[in-house]
């Protein structure tokens, strides 16, 4: 009896230690800053792409009038009572269809995304960027695609971490304030400070992304084409969506079958093997090839790019830091090489 109790006690302790190590190990926030810039760029593109069609979608006489969306969601006052259910598609874009007001709201949304990307008032602009993107997602849920859940997921987690710690205007402002204040040591800022919040945020992104990969794999396996190897052909056959015409591959059924199975296998293995330190670089390289090829045959460029951005959550902070340091070093070397020395000046004179 004692042995069983000891076993469960050890088990609980071990799980607890593992849990704490997994979630609460402080890490360098630099990867979060990189993710902020890249996710911010995708968010800017997402919002800017509505700029071409803003009035056409949501303006007076738009393609998606607010009442039509409410009816499709079953929340209109005109919807039958049995079809009405509580939905939570809140968006400030429902409040008006006036062109002027729409442009002001769109402009503010874009401004917030730009500020977030450059890292100004990051704590606030991260939340506002998420609100801006969600406003468009909820205003037209029927025209949202696979990009939106990945983009909002990354933006959501970035709200909780110190994503403006590096590569941001916030960092420059902090340095400027520190330099102004003589009592503070300016060098203290340049040392990488580890953060528990950054660790939690990166872990949350990793777990969420692994779950998303698994969902993608299982969703695919719910249909026969992903079992019988035909799926990639059916994607290639979308003449109105694809970016390149690969129909000549009909002569190579082996390639089509292998490609189909490779996609499913990759998506199934990713959530399992990505936690292995040795397998991780390989999986991340394969991910670049897979999402690149899928972008070409499906035309889902923004979604595939966002998946690659989200995959960066798995690149270790040490790798990001060393890559950043080597970038800085090489740029310093270039500066030093191009800086005119006194000897050069004399020679030039």
């Amino acid at each position: 009896m004692n042995a069983i109790a000891n076993y469960f006690s050890d088990l609980c302790e071990s799980i607890g230690r593992g849990w704490n190590r997994f979630w609460f190990t402080p890490v360098d926030p630099l990867p979060l800053s990189v993710l902020r810039i890249l996710a911010g760029c995708v968010a800017m593109y997402y919002l800017a792409s509505y700029g071409f069609d803003l009035q056409r979608w949501f303006g007076p006489g738009g393609l998606l009038p607010a009442e039509a969306v409410r009816r499709l969601l079953g929340v209109s006052e005109f919807s039958p009572v049995e079809e009405q259910e509580a939905v939570f598609h809140f968006s400030y874009l429902y409040f008006t269809d006036s062109p002027g007001a729409l442009w002001v709201m769109h402009g503010l949304g874009m401004l917030v995304a730009v500020l977030f990307t450059v890292g100004l008032f990051t704590r606030i602009t991260s939340v506002l960027s998420l609100v801006a993107v969600l406003a468009y997602v909820h205003r037209g849920p029927m025209i949202a695609g696979p990009l939106e859940p990945v983009l909002t997921m990354v933006l959501f987690y970035l709200c909780f971490g110190p994503s403006g710690q590096y590569l941001s205007i916030d960092q420059l402002l902090r340095r400027w304030r520190a330099n102004r204040n003589v009592a503070q040591q300016p060098d203290a800022e340049s040392l990488p400070s580890k953060s528990v919040a950054a660790g939690i945020v990166l872990r949350l992104m990793q777990v969420h992304l692994a779950g998303l990969y698994l969902t993608m794999a299982l969703t695919k396996l719910a249909g026969p084409p992903w079992w019988d190897g035909e799926a990639v052909w059916w994607l290639i056959a979308h003449t109105e969506s694809r970016l390149v015409d690969l129909t000549f591959l009909h002569r190579s059924p082996f390639v089509l079958d292998a490609w189909t199975h490779a996609i499913v296998l990759f998506e199934l293995l990713f959530p399992l093997l990505i936690w292995n330190r040795l397998a991780r670089p390989l999986l991340l390289i394969v991910a670049v090839i897979m999402w690149g090829s899928l972008a070409l045959i499906t035309g889902l460029v923004a979604f595939c790019a966002m998946m690659l951005v989200a995959n960066l959550a798995f690149v270790s902070p040490e790798t990001v830091r060393s890559a950043w340091n080597s970038c800085c070093r090489s740029s310093d070397e270039v500066k030093a090489a191009t800086k005119p020395t006194s000897a050069n000046k004399v020679a030039a004179g």
Binding site: F24, P65, H138, P149, T152, V196, M216, W226, A237, A302
Partner: protein, 222 residues
């Protein structure tokens, strides 16, 4: 090998992880959040009664923050009628429906990899999806017709949604018509409606039920 006490004291000293209470609260929040995310993701394709009930309870969180995938097509294709390209076509008043060039096509002829194109394509997909439901398809068709009337000053006479069917793998070795992915053979009308513009400018649509009432393309359309 470090002893248990040494390891735990090292962890205790790490900045941020100040107390067990802090960790406990954060752990609980992480667990609840991941549970909501898992429910939202696992119910993406088919959902059991339990999943549906859980989702409806968790909706204030999962739907608001877009964690509820809600049938997002992450499968990319299952080669069903729901997985084909769709297009909405508008026939301006006074033009011959038999001439394929007279129909205005949505999505516009823009870069197919852009979000602008994809959104218009998804609107067409939504119309094709609801084609059997007169009400829902009507809301979308009405919106599109009103848009062309009010924003583009084009008075629509008819609106339809056509499915662009996919070539099977053996098609490139078939007949000339089968080899051409834009042959009328690969098009199918999912929904068609006459557009009625009232004196007050209000637009309504009247679904055309019989296929014979729908103008069929007589030549290649792109």
């Amino acid at each position: 090998m470090p002893s248990e006490s040494v390891r735990s004291s090292t962890t205790e000293n790490q900045p941020g992880a100040r107390s067990e209470l802090f960790r406990g609260v954060i752990s609980l929040l992480i667990f609840i959040h991941l549970f909501c995310v898992w429910v939202g993701m696992s119910a993406n394709v088919g959902r059991s009664a339990l999943q549906a009930r859980l989702l409806s309870r968790l909706r204030p969180y999962t739907q608001l923050l877009n964690f509820d995938l809600d049938f997002t097509p992450y499968h990319l294709t299952h080669a069903t009628m729901l997985d084909v390209d769709n297009r909405i076509e508008i026939l301006p008043e006074g033009l011959d429906a038999a001439d394929a060039d007279n129909w205005i096509v949505l999505p516009d002829a823009v870069y197919p990899g852009g979000l602008q194109y994809k959104r218009q394509q998804r609107l067409a997909d939504t119309l094709a999806f609801y084609a059997e439901s007169e009400d829902y398809a009507g809301f979308i068709a009405q919106g599109v017709a009103a848009n062309y009337l009010q924003q583009r000053q084009i008075r629509p006479a008819q609106i339809r949604c056509r499915r662009h069917l996919l070539q099977p793998r053996e098609a490139p070795t078939g007949t000339a018509a089968e080899q051409n992915p834009n042959d009328p053979l690969y098009f199918e009308v999912a929904y068609a409606a006459n557009v009625v513009v009232g004196r007050d400018g209000r637009v309504s649509v009247v679904k055309i039920d019989e296929a014979s009432q729908v103008a069929q393309p007589d030549s290649n359309t792109n």
